[in-house]
Amino acid sequence: MTALQNPPRVLRVESLWQRGALDFIRSPLAMVGLLILLSITLAALFAPWITPQNPYDLMQLDVLDARLAPGAHSAEGAYTYWLGTDGQGRDLYSAIVYGLRISLLVGVGSALIAAVIGTLLGLISAYAGGWVDALVMRLVDLLLSFPGILMALMILAWLGKGVGNVMLTLVLLEWAYYARTARGQALVESRREYVEAARGQGISRWRILVGHILPNCLPPLIVIGALQIARAITLEATLSFLGLGVPITEPSLGLLIANGFQFMLGDEYWISVFPGLALLLTIVAINLVGDRLRDVLNPRLQR
């Protein structure tokens, strides 16, 4: 009734995640990254609807259109190649959008699978201790002590090309990062008092590990996940560029860059440069988001 009355107290129910999301929005750079990432993902998802041709349906290609400069018209005059064409007369814009599909699938897919496997192994390691822990962690040390690209080349030389094989290789390389972080975090968390309290409530060890400890380990794992997606995409592009990655029937950005590489010293720079720019944009966007996630979710930086 009067101005002296206290306003009704509203209990704000916000989780750590919600607080993190609010913090995230405060960085304009990260929001730009997120926006780019979102549009790239949407473009990749809806590739057939937003591209003028399916670049890998040979029926739709016209060899007469090969190596056209950006902005050139097709021989039949039906459409404009805004980003030019490659050696087989593919519309580069379409090829890039389709290439993004494979790159993102390989990057995100392998990072997610590696995250699940690595986190599980890390948690089991921390939980079991003893020789299981020693075995898993020495394996992690072994994997991390080799340069990733070298390991990947060896594995792929043995397995052969293909999207599935590339993903398998990337998973084999990446799970170790998650395992090491998950184990360390779980060991720290398992000494916290809420774990003792949960044990005092008669909750089984496995339930405590998955239901109580894992949620507390997630923030650093998410950060690693974001950065590992970027790493996986670059690694896949490198492997494809070197001719050990995906086959020409399922081209990724790396393969597109490799295809145009022979024309780089001629005047047809666009065949390599535009896929390269697309790759660069994707990686930068993911890293912007990943860096911000690290700042927001890092418990040491939390105010």
Binding site: L11, R12, E14, A197, G200, Q201, G202, I203, R207, N216
Partner: protein
Amino acid sequence: MNAFQQDVRPATLEVRNLSTSFHTRDGVLPAVREVSLRLQPGQILGLVGESGSGKSVTGFSILGLVDAPGRISGGEIIFQGRDLTRLSAKELRHLQGNRIAMIFQDPMMTLNPVLRIDAQMIEAVRAHSPMSRREARQHACDTLASMGIASPEERLRAYPHQLSGGMRQRVAIAIALLHRPDLIIADEPTTALDVTIQAQILGEVQKLVREQGTSLIWITHDLSVVAGLADQVAVMYAGRIVEQGSVDAVLDRPLHPYTQGLIDSLPSRNQRGQRLRQIPGMAPNLLSMPAGCAFAQRCSRASSACSELPPAVEIEPGRSLRCFHPAVYEAGAAHGQ
């Protein structure tokens, strides 16, 4: 008094000669040695001692929460006729949180920071009762309300960091009460709270314990809490119980010099301006304990006899003591008068 007046009801908890030690790199650390306790249904025992006296480890041992490098090295813990030291991990887990519950010291730390209160309470309920999530949530809500928590629905939806310290400890206590346990072990649960909140929580716990016939072990270093709350008190020093008995008897007529020292070191209004009396010296290092009475070095009444370990003597039914030189009171005279 004669032997026939002894309480013959079956005890909820009977601890006999419990010893717990920690095997560290520097040697074996005997944290708890030959502790014996007896607790009737509905009784409240105050377990008193300074930091490192073994009172918390005693509580953890009873609940089976002692982890490597620590282990129970001897004795029996009879809870409702079963020896807890002989139970399998699964049988023990069936009792933990269900028939025996624990309340921890720091409410900041004992609730999982990333889970909402309802998630934590529902899990605690469902660990022992086959309830649906909806029923479990309702039960959690009712239990919060019985702890005197206003708008329990709202609290259930909150995260621990959104609650005040007192509120968090009430939630922790409500979790302990979920299954109406027969025994609650409270490890200094009000130490981190301010005095008014402490008084409220003590009052509510006392009420609930009396209503439900729960036995309670209240571990504390605060004698004034024990005086107001407990029926029985056990005083621990360097891993051993040095004096045990009813609260009235022990606090009014302390026999062990350490108990006397504890009571004398409490600041009181009557002694304003005087220097507080403190017990000289420091508690011994548990890794290199003297052979005899652990308190002898700090004791004004120590004699050559104290180089041997005084046995626990039951001087009256329910009143025991480990001292060769207990205080002597004239008939009718109480300590401190």
